[in-house]
Symmetry: C2
């Protein structure tokens, strides 16, 4: 089974991301807008085997402010346009811990926390769309107090297995 770890941001930010994804992201119907903390990895384990490890990691980090300041692109590596999140100790720590504690190899790319709003565009589409989204801009802050362990179905859509709340004493 393929699984991964993501943050689903607030409804407000998901709705904004979806207004772009609807037109520009072929994964629009497969998963709600999300920030990936650990990319998809294969496992034969019952996902409940990860619960204790993930609870321990969740306890290490208090809820934190997610800051989105701009629309970026991964060009020339890919034509993925995204809301770029400012790095902070919690995002980097969570990402490192998940790669250390869970199955799957080293990350393919350095960790750039982001919420994808467009991908798999042609060269021309990418220039057009990125040009106009960059102009529009984005400025958003919100509290993140949880992450989700998700797994992929045969149709490539994702289901949530479990939520983990950050902090020693989650409210």
């Amino acid at each position: 089974m393929k699984c991964g770890i993501v943050i689903f941001p607030s409804k407000k930010l998901q709705d904004l991301a979806n207004s772009y994804r609807k037109r520009y992201d072929p994964h629009y119907a497969l998963i709600p807008p999300h920030l990936t903390l650990k990319a998809a990895f294969d496992t034969d384990y019952d996902l409940n085997q990860f619960t204790e490890k993930l609870n321990n990691i969740a306890e290490k980090y208090e809820p934190f402010i997610l800051k989105i300041r701009k629309v970026s692109s991964f060009e020339p590596i890919s034509h993925t346009i995204h809301f770029k999140a400012e790095k902070n100790a919690e995002l980097e720590g969570l990402n490192e811990d998940f790669y250390k504690e869970l199955p799957g190899g080293a990350p393919e790319h350095p960790f750039v926390p982001h919420i994808t709003i467009a991908q798999k565009l042609s060269n021309d589409e990418h220039s057009d769309v990125f040009g106009s989204l960059k102009m529009l801009g984005v400025a958003h802050e919100e509290l993140v107090d949880r992450f989700h362990l998700v797994y992929q179905l045969d149709n490539e859509s994702w289901t949530v297995h479990e939520t983990f709340r950050l902090g020693k004493d989650p409210q």
Copy 2:
């Protein structure tokens, strides 16, 4: 915000349900296959306000076996075809508690626990599809150890807010 409470069954049962939903359920892309414990209700509250109540309800019920024995239809009330789940004390108790403890009015219909595999079919489609799915049949059992609080985005798709594990001492 609209929210609701559902069980996502195992990947195996979700994949089976999706093999029908793909063709016969216009909600296919909006939410993974699920068993609704409390239908969508409107709330202005921060969803975290429900956490304590839902934790208390989750503690009252131990994990239980979900038994699916047949394909049914809600005809003549609607053309919704579904995997019918056998009623048991846990499903009925959870359903009652959610209606007692959470906002929203009384249920519109008596509680018939089920996983929808086809809906909004025309008369003729319904007869055809129900005829052949009934013949195919279904027999499935699995352990249910959690439920999910979900909320709806502007595009009508659903995101998971939080998972609650059943039992006094969830493993």
